[in-house]
Structure formats: C-alpha cells, structure tokens
C-alpha cells in the first residue's frame, strides 16, 4: 500500500481468489494490518498505544451494548436500573466496572498516544491529516465520555451535566438559549438524559469511522518512527505481520492485566463517591469535579478569575476550547524540519516541562477552587498556551538540531555497535 516493496496479496485457495475478485476484503486486511504493510523496524513500545486505543474502543462497545440491554434511560429509574445491573443481572457488575474503568484506560492510552505523537513529531508533514483526525477522535471521546458519565444519574452525573452545559451559557446573547436547547429544558432532566443516552450510543460508532480514516491517512505515508527520518528503502522496514502483531499481542496482554487489576480489585478508585448518591436537583455537592481525564481542561477553565474586557467565565470557556483547538494548528506552528524530539535538544526540555505542566493542571483541576491551587493553575495554564503558541514557533527557528542518522537502518546498527546491547535499542 504505502511502499513499492510492500508484499502483494496472493489468494491461496480458489475461494479466496473468487472472493478477492468480487469483494477484496481479505486484501484490505492484508494491506492494513497484515504482511502487506511495511513498518519501520525501529518502533519502540510507545507505538503500541494506537492499537491499544483500538482495543479499548472495542471493549467499550461490547460492554456498552450489553449494558444498554439492561439500562433504562429514564430519570425516574436510571439510578435504580444501574443498581439492578450491579445486583441482579448475571455478571452485570463485571460489565459495568469494565465499562467505567475501560473509559479511564481508553483515555490513559490515548493520552500516551498523543504525547508520543508530540515528542516524535508525528503531527508533521506528511502526516498532518493523521494528527487532525486524531484530534477529532479525541474531541468525540471527550463528548462520549461526558455523556456516559451522566447516564447513571448520580449526583456527579447531574451536576456535571449542569456545569458542562452551563459553559455554553457563557456565550454572549444566545448562551442561555443554547444551554436550554442542549438540555431540552431549564435544568438536566429526563429530556437531557434521553438525548445523552442516544448520543452516547451513537458517537462510539462515529469514532470507529474516524479511526478508519485515521488509519487510512496514516497508511499513505506509513508510520513515523523514533528517529523521525523517512523510510529510505526495504531494509528500513519489516512487515506489520508477524512482527508488530506479535509485539502488539504482548502489549495487549500488559494492558489487560492493568485493566483487570483496577476492575477486580479497585473498581471505584477512579470514580467519585458522590455518584453513588442518586441525582438530587435540590442538593449541590461540595465539590463538583468532572472525571479525572477532563481535569486539566477544567483547571484551565477555572484559572480565569478576573473580568477583563470579557467576563471571566467567557475567558475560561474560550481558553478551555482554545486549549484543544490550538492543537489543530500544531503542524503549522512548529516549523522545525526535524520530527523526532530525540534530535532537538531545546524542544526535548520544553516537551517534558509540558508533560509536568499538564499533570499539574490535572491535579489543580481536581483540587477545590481555592488558593494556592488557583494561582498554580494560572501559572500552569500560562505555560500551556505559551508552549504551543509562543515557545514552539520560536525554538523551531532558533534551535540547532543534532545531526540526524542517514537512515533508520544506520540508526539501528549504529546503536548496536556503540552499546552492544540490542535489548537497549528496543
């Protein structure tokens, strides 16, 4: 598909030949995740996370479809129907805990996948479309996860829905109307619950469609690699199958072990206790917090505390959406021709500052809105915007990259000689 030396699919028996002429589905699979897709030979374990994200989506869809058979999207009985799943449905507790923790693990692997792309420059030409589609998937995931969190109709479900749809109320003039339109009422109620359930069921399939486009766009230039340099010839690549299928199989095992530890031994660790209290419009929880994977953005939202030309709340909403939207422009903000952070001494430092910065934002997003957390999140939010909009464009001009290896093969063999440890090269 991507390189001229890619293996061609040859049907081995008459039926497959017959099939290939009429509907070349086996050929498609062969060229996508089979021996027909040549991949750089030097990918490290961070390249496992794309496949793991796909696995996480499959787990979410399978458990979600089963849960939907027993769940009732009605504000009168939604909470009770979740308890019915936990107590009376055979293995219902397993389906629900897998689904709830599976969402968290989906975000963990996607965040690692995104930061891998940031470090190794996977967003740069010719892979801009891969990056943009990935961001669309990320936005869809956040919408799906938020609406899923509303479905159990606990206290955090209800008040989370109130706060998040309330963000749209910050829009001047039409805000209130937009919020009422989104909720189908003046406050979250049965109308909101029903539409959230409908969309929560729909969006994962939209995500699946976007993943197909994401992979399609990826397979034209082929995968990036830790050196960031282009594939020069057949010696730089190995077929996806069996090499990377075997490696991904191992990665999937480690992923499932980690997920199982949470599901079976700490299933509520990542959740919030208040969501085991049924939604009560008359009682506001002491601290309303979204799920952990949205906390960095929540911290940015709350970092704007002072009106300046615009109301503080509107600044917060603009900044929160802006913090994700700016990523769509990243391929054109960072003009350094070198992809991999490995050969960019300045970029490398700023990258790790960004990682710490996002973790700090996440911590502050979960903390109560009081000092010193507000001041810390203000500093961290300043760095977040400065990193992408000011620092990256500047260092891509001033930085002197380290010399690049001539080819992937040279990088691999050179490392072998210098360290005499093939395992370390992994």
């Amino acid at each position: 598909m991507s390189f001229p030396w890619a293996e061609q699919y040859t049907p081995k028996n008459p039926f497959m030949k017959w099939m290939d002429e009429r509907l070349p589905l086996p050929r498609l699979v062969y060229n996508s995740v089979g021996a027909g897709y040549p991949v750089p030979r030097n990918l490290n374990y961070f390249w496992n996370f794309g496949v793991l994200a796909g696995l996480a989506l499959v787990i979410q869809i399978v458990t979600g479809v089963v849960l939907a058979m027993h769940y009732a999207a009605n504000s009168e009985i939604a909470f009770a129907s979740v308890e019915h799943i936990m107590r009376d449905v055979n293995s219902g507790w397993l389906m629900r805990y897998l689904h709830a923790n599976g969402a968290s693990f989906f975000f963990i692997v996607v965040y690692i996948h995104i930061f891998r792309g940031l470090y190794f420059g996977s967003y740069k030409a010719p892979r801009e479309m891969v990056w943009l589609l990935g961001l669309v998937i990320f936005l869809l995931m956040m919408a799906t996860a938020f609406m899923g969190y509303v479905l159990p109709w606990g206290q955090m479900s209800f008040w989370g829905a109130q706060v998040i749809t309330g963000l749209f109320a910050a829009i001047p003039l039409v805000g209130e109307t937009v919020q009422q339109w989104l909720l189908g009422g003046f406050a979250p109620d049965n109308a909101a619950l029903n539409r959230f359930f409908s969309l929560h069921y729909l969006l994962p399939f939209v995500i699946a469609g976007c993943i197909i486009l994401h992979i399609w766009a990826l397979h034209l230039p082929g995968s990036n690699n830790p050196t960031g340099i282009d594939v020069k010839g057949p010696q730089d690549t190995i077929p996806f199958h069996p090499y990377y299928t075997a490696k991904d199989g191992f990665g999937a095992g480690v992923f499932l072990i980690a997920l199982s530890i949470m599901v079976f031994f700490a299933p509520n660790f990542l959740g919030h206790a208040d969501n085991y209290i049924e939604a009560n419009p008359l009682s506001t929880p002491a601290h309303i917090v979204p799920e952990w994977y949205l906390l960095p953005f929540y911290a940015i939202l709350r970092a704007f505390t002072v009106d300046f030309l615009l109301p503080a709340k509107l600044w917060g909403v603009l900044a929160m959406f802006g913090s994700i939207l700016l990523l769509f422009f990243l391929p054109w903000l960072d003009k350094s021709p070198v992809r991999s952070g490995k050969y960019r001494p300045q970029f490398k430092i700023w990258f790790w500052v960004l990682v710490v910065d996002v973790l700090v934002l996440g911590y502050c997003g979960g903390a109560p809105a009081e000092e010193p957390y507000v001041m810390i999140s203000q500093v961290a939010a300043m760095y977040y915007f400065a990193h992408f909009l000011i620092i990256l464009p500047l260092i891509s001009r001033t930085e002197r990259p380290l010399p690049l290896p001539n080819s992937i093969t040279e990088a691999v063999l050179g490392k072998d000689k210098s360290t005499a440890q093939p395992v370390a090269a992994e």
Partner: protein, 276 residues
C-alpha cells in the same frame, strides 16, 4: 500567518492569566486571617479494618448476621435499604425459611392493591421484595426527622469518599464539643457534635448504646462492636458481588499473566533475527 495569529492569541491568554494571577496574589496576600472553621475541627476517619478488605478479603458471615441484627433493631427505624431484597440475605448464610420469616415479620408493610376492590392497601413482605421504604416519600422523612431526611443505606459505604471507615468513625464518634469551639460551630437544636461529619453537627442522634442488641452468638454488644458489625453489613449491601468479583479477578489475572508471558516469548522468538 498562522504563527503570527497564534502568537497574538497566545499573548492574549497569557496576559489575561497573568492579570488574574496578580489580582489573585494580591487578594491572597492581603487577605485577613479568618477565624477557625469547621475544617479545623474536622477529623479524618479512624484507621479501622474489615474482613472484606484487600484483594483476598472475604465477608465474615457471622459478622454480617450480627450487623444485620443491628440494622434491623436500630437503623431500620429510620433508614431504608432500597436496593437490597430479602432474598439477598441468603448471602449472609440465612436459610430460605429464616428469610421468609424475616420478610413476613418486617415491621413495615409493602404497598399493594386490594385484589377485589383495587383500593390501595398493604401486605406483609415476601422474600422477593426489596426492603420496604421507611417513609412514603422524602418530605414525610424530613417531617419526621427535624427536616433531615435519613439517607438510604444500600450504597452508603460507596457513597462517601472515606468509605466504610468513615461510617464506623461516625457511629462511634459522638462526643461533647471541644471547649475552644467557636460559638457559630456549636450544635444547634436537634443537632449533635461529631467531628467526623464534614460540618461537625449531625442531625442523627447517637444511635448506639452499650448492650442495645443481644447477639445470639454471645459477642459483647459494645458500641464499637455494633458499629463495626453494622458497617461490615453495609459494605455487603453496597457491594454484594464483592467475593465473586475478587475470585474472578484472581482467575483472570492468572490466565492473563500466563497468556502475556506466552505473547512475550512469541514476540521475542519472532523478532530474534531482526535488528531493531
């Protein structure tokens, strides 16, 4: 062009944040020291363990039965157990005949309709019923309890961030207010001081007194013992599938570790002659 616009947008956000930071910092620095708040007197839950703790933890049936006895004789006067059915008590080691008797003798009846007239009436509970609600609705519960609705206890150990230790601490934590407690934090009429409760003053009167129940197995019914037992019972009501969950977890983990080891070996085997 993208970079020029991006640069300006970046400066804008950073500038507004810096402005917010300066204003916030000035306010923080000049803020007057506030007097002690409820937060300063609040205590975190006591360190208490239960047989069900940990990856190998299991319920102690004897303890659950004692805890159920405390619930039935003390808590059930005000607190419902909406999501638990009488039939679920088989998990505690009760026989079907015992459960039928418990349901039949439950002091609150179950709403139903008269088969002949269709009028609303009540009947004795049966094993298939959930524990009947104590109050017809939340307003009735508030009216009977100084405007504080006694929460349903089915999920209480999962619905509090400190979990079961919080519940235990609350039950044994009633005490006289400390002498230095500011006046505005003193318990008002119908409230009771309890440092484990977030705002220190709880509408629930101290529920447990020594020897309030008589345990069939001869265990001495101290307040600590009853609190510990009823908390264990409420861990079960919140998570009745805990034992099967942990047992399944071990089987799944052993399988996955074995499968992952095989996957690792086949990965290394397939890659053995590839430089990478």
């Amino acid at each position: 062009m993208v970079r020029v616009i991006g640069f300006l947008v970046g400066l804008g956000f950073v500038g507004v944040l810096a402005y917010s930071l300066v204003i916030g910092a000035i306010a923080f620095a000049t803020e007057e020291e506030a007097g002690p708040t409820a937060y300063d007197y609040h205590k975190y839950a006591r360190d208490v363990s239960f047989p069900s703790d940990g990856p190998l933890g299991r319920f102690d049936r004897q303890q659950l039965q004692r805890g159920f006895q405390v619930y039935r004789e003390v808590c059930a006067a005000c607190h419902s157990l909406e999501y638990v059915a009488f039939r679920n008590l088989t998990d505690l080691g009760f026989s079907e005949a015992e459960i039928d008797a418990i349901a039949d003798q439950w002091p609150i009846q179950v709403p139903t309709i008269d088969e002949n007239t269709g009028e609303e009436t009540t009947r004795n509970a049966v094993a298939a019923d959930h524990f009947p609600l104590v109050y017809a609705n939340e307003t009735a519960g508030q009216a009977a309890n100084n405007n504080a609705y006694p929460p349903d206890l089915s999920l209480i150990t999962k619905a509090r961030s400190e979990g079961a230790p919080y519940l235990y601490s609350l039950l044994v934590g009633y005490q006289d207010p400390p002498e230095d407690l500011p006046e505005d934090l003193l318990p008002g009429t119908g409230l009771y001081y309890n440092p484990y409760f977030p705002n220190l003053n709880l509408a629930m009167p101290p529920p447990l007194f020594p020897d309030q129940v008589t345990y069939a197995d001869g265990t001495e019914a101290t307040v600590e013992q009853m609190a510990w037992d009823v908390t264990a019972f409420l861990i079960w009501t919140a998570e009745p599938k805990m034992e099967v969950r942990k047992a399944t977890g071990w089987a799944v983990l052993i399988f996955l570790i074995f499968a992952t080891l095989l996957a690792f070996l086949s990965y290394k085997n397939i890659w053995r002659d590839q430089k990478h």
